[in-house]
Each structure stands twice: as structure tokens, then as C-alpha cells.
């Protein structure tokens, strides 16, 4: 957040209320970063650092929790079990039942990785959700969708899987009409919506936070503008709390949809 103010301030060249230079609206410049370091043509940026850090934190947390598991959990194991049981009971079992427990490590990793990546937008110093860059979301959505297709072909067979894609009990002329719709939905739109929702929510949330933070800074002065700055500061707090909810919700939705995709791959639905 402080970073946003700095970026906006830099972009506006120190622009302020009564400065006759207008409101320095946040925009795409808030999502671009100078490389921290470069190796040839490869540039390592802040969002990449956050992604690596989140991976390390998730691995380290669960390693610490279950390195030496006790029958009666204590300390960090308690927290780890709480997280795993939440994913199991609220996401995995409603979709897959008990036979889906084999996918628990995958779904737990996915949920906590996405949640932590989203949460980084609210943590000082980091102040950026890497999921608001589509390049971080597409590989996740692709990974889930490739798993979805693989499990479908493996469990139902190639012909069974393709035939199960089509609705049953529909007159054959309707099939011809539905072929382009089903193909596009199955191979393009469904994975696209899976990823784009996460990306768009994080992008919009970060922009919203940046706008109110910039407005607070822009309006702060010893004039009537101070009242507006205070109003904007209240909105910062409100959006901050909203984003906390959105961060959790987006991780939950992505993981729940992954679980339901896996469920529909394992057994045909008509």
C-alpha cells in the first residue's frame, strides 16, 4: 500500500490537491515492477519473489507442522491440522466423498498457496497480490485443467469420456447445434473462467485499494480536503477488510471448483 502511494506519487511528479495537476489515478503502472535483478534476458521481479516466498512458506509451514506428528497435536501441528481439516470437510469431501482423500495434499497445497499469494496484497512491504498478474494464474488453471482431462481419460476411457461430455436424452439435431458450444465451453471457456475470475478479483481489489490510498494522500491538507481524506481513509479500511474476505473466498472458490472438476472426471455425470 505504501508502495502504491510511492508509485502514484512518482507517476504524478508530486502532484497534490490544489497543485493544478489533477488526481494521479492508479492504473497499470501499479502492476509493473522494475527487475530486482536480471540474468541475461530473464528479469526477476517483485511478484516472482512473492510467488517463491509463498511457496517456501507453505512448504515450511506444513513441514514444521507434520515433521514429527504427535497423536495429541500441539503448537503448529494444531494449526496445520485445523487447516487440513477445513479443506477436507468444506471443500474435498462435499465434492469427492471419502474416496477423494487421495487428492487432499494437492487441494491443501493449492488452497493455501493461493490464499497466501492473495494475502500478500495486505501485508506491509509486499503489498501486492501476485495473482493480479495473469501470468501467475494461467499455469495454475492449466495445471488443474490438464489434471481434469487426464483423470477423465484415465477413469472413463477416451471414448467414454468424450461421449459423457454430451447431454443424454436430447434429439440428435440438437447435438449438431450443441457441438460448437460444448467444444468451446469444454476446452476454452471453462478453463478460462476458472483462471480469469481469480485474476480479475485480485486485480480489481488491488486497484481499488490503490485508488483510495492515493486519494487519501492526494486530499490530505489543512483545508476542507482533510475531511475528504478522512473519508477516503475510512474506505481504505473498509476495502482492506473486504479484500481479506475476497482473498479467502477466491482461494476457496478456485479449490472447490478444482475438487468438483476432479469429481466429474472420476465418474460420469449426465
Amino acid at each position: 500500500m505504501i508502495g502504491d502511494v510511492r508509485v502514484v506519487a512518482d507517476a504524478a511528479g508530486g502532484c497534490h490537491l490544489f497543485g493544478n495537476c489533477g488526481f494521479p489515478a492508479p492504473g497499470l503502472q501499479n502492476f509493473s515492477f522494475k527487475p530486482l535483478f536480471s540474468v541475461g534476458s530473464f528479469h526477476f521481479t517483485k511478484p516472482m519473489l512473492i510467488a517463491v516466498l509463498c511457496t517456501v512458506i507453505v512448504i515450511a509451514f506444513f513441514w514444521a507442522a507434520f515433521r514429527k506428528p504427535k497423536l495429541v497435536p500441539r503448537g503448529v501441528q494444531n494449526l496445520g491440522e485445523l487447516g487440513i481439516l477445513a479443506v477436507r470437510d468444506q471443500i474435498l469431501r462435499p465434492a469427492l466423498g471419502r474416496k477423494g482423500d487421495v487428492y487432499l495434499p494437492f487441494l491443501v497445497s493449492l488452497f493455501f498457496y493461493i490464499f497466501l499469494m492473495n494475502l500478500m496484497e495486505l501485508i506491509p512491504v509486499f503489498e501486492f497480490p501476485s495473482m493480479s498478474r495473469i501470468g501467475f494464474v494461467v499455469p495454475l488453471a492449466a495445471m488443474v485443467y490438464i489434471l481434469y482431462l487426464y483423470l477423465g481419460f484415465k477413469n472413463q476411457g477416451a471414448w467414454g469420456y468424450v461421449s459423457n461430455m454430451w447431454p443424454r436424452g436430447v434429439p440428435w439435431p440438437i447435438y449438431i447445434i450443441l457441438i460448437p458450444v460444448e467444444l468451446l465451453r469444454f476446452f476454452i471457456i471453462q478453463p478460462f473462467t476458472l483462471g480469469i475470475r481469480l485474476f480479475a478479483n485480485m486485480f480489481a481489489g488491488h486497484l481499488l485499494l490503490a485508488i483510495f490510498i492515493a486519494a487519501t494522500w492526494y486530499l490530505a491538507s489543512f483545508t476542507i480536503g482533510l475531511l475528504f481524506a478522512a473519508g477516503s481513509a475510512v474506505m481504505v479500511l473498509f476495502v482492506f477488510l473486504l479484500e481479506l474476505l475476497v482473498d479467502l473466498l477466491q482461494a476457496f472458490i478456485f479449490t472447490t471448483l478444482t475438487a468438483t472438476y476432479i469429481a466429474s472426471s472420476l465418474e460420469a455425470q449426465h
Binding site: V181, L257, T260, A263
Partner: protein, 100 residues
């Protein structure tokens, strides 16, 4: 906590059925949304191709509208009937109550 959907004034703890219904609803919601977009996109592309072939612009929007109509019709056929979202014998809705 589960919402007071029955209007009884009592808010209850979420059950496995609540979670299953939520998963099914979420999945169905996004599938329906995907159908709407896919219908418009698929027939929009076909219309655009026809428009290119006959050097006209109208097949593109007409294709999109036709695609949307097909999607809406199919969504009503598949999901609009009573009981179409009832738990089936397989897939997202199945809950094993004694799992916990």
C-alpha cells in the same frame, strides 16, 4: 454458520449437506455461465466466418444472438427443471455422511 433459509429464526451449524449443496451450486453456476459465454462465442465465430465469406457484417451479431438463444434454451432444458440440481448418484453432490 448456515443461513436461516427456512425463516425459522434459527441459524444452525453447517452440515455436510450444506457443504455439498454449496459445491454443487458453485459448480453448476460456473457451468451455466460458461454455457452462456460459449454459445455467444461459438456462433459469433461462425457468424463472423460467414460474414467474411459473403462480405457482410450482420452475420456476426446475429450469430452471437443465436448462440445466446441456444445457450439459454439448453440451460433451461438441462438445469431449469425441478430436481435438476438434486444430488445424483455420482459427482459433486455425493456426500458420505459418516466421513468425519
Amino acid at each position: 454458520m448456515a443461513a436461516d433459509v427456512n425463516g425459522t429464526g434459527r441459524v444452525t451449524r453447517p452440515t455436510a449437506d450444506d457443504a455439498a449443496a454449496r459445491a454443487l451450486g458453485l459448480s453448476t453456476g460456473w457451468t451455466v455461465f460458461s454455457y452462456l459465454i460459449a454459445g455467444m462465442a461459438a456462433y459469433g465465430i461462425i457468424g463472423w466466418g460467414i460474414g467474411k465469406a459473403v462480405h457482410a457484417e450482420w452475420p456476426f451479431p446475429v450469430g452471437m444472438i443465436v448462440g445466446l438463444a441456444i445457450s439459454v434454451g439448453f440451460i433451461i432444458y438441462r438445469y431449469g427443471r425441478q430436481g435438476s440440481l438434486e444430488p445424483r448418484d455420482a459427482g459433486p453432490a455425493r456426500v458420505e455422511r459418516d466421513d468425519r
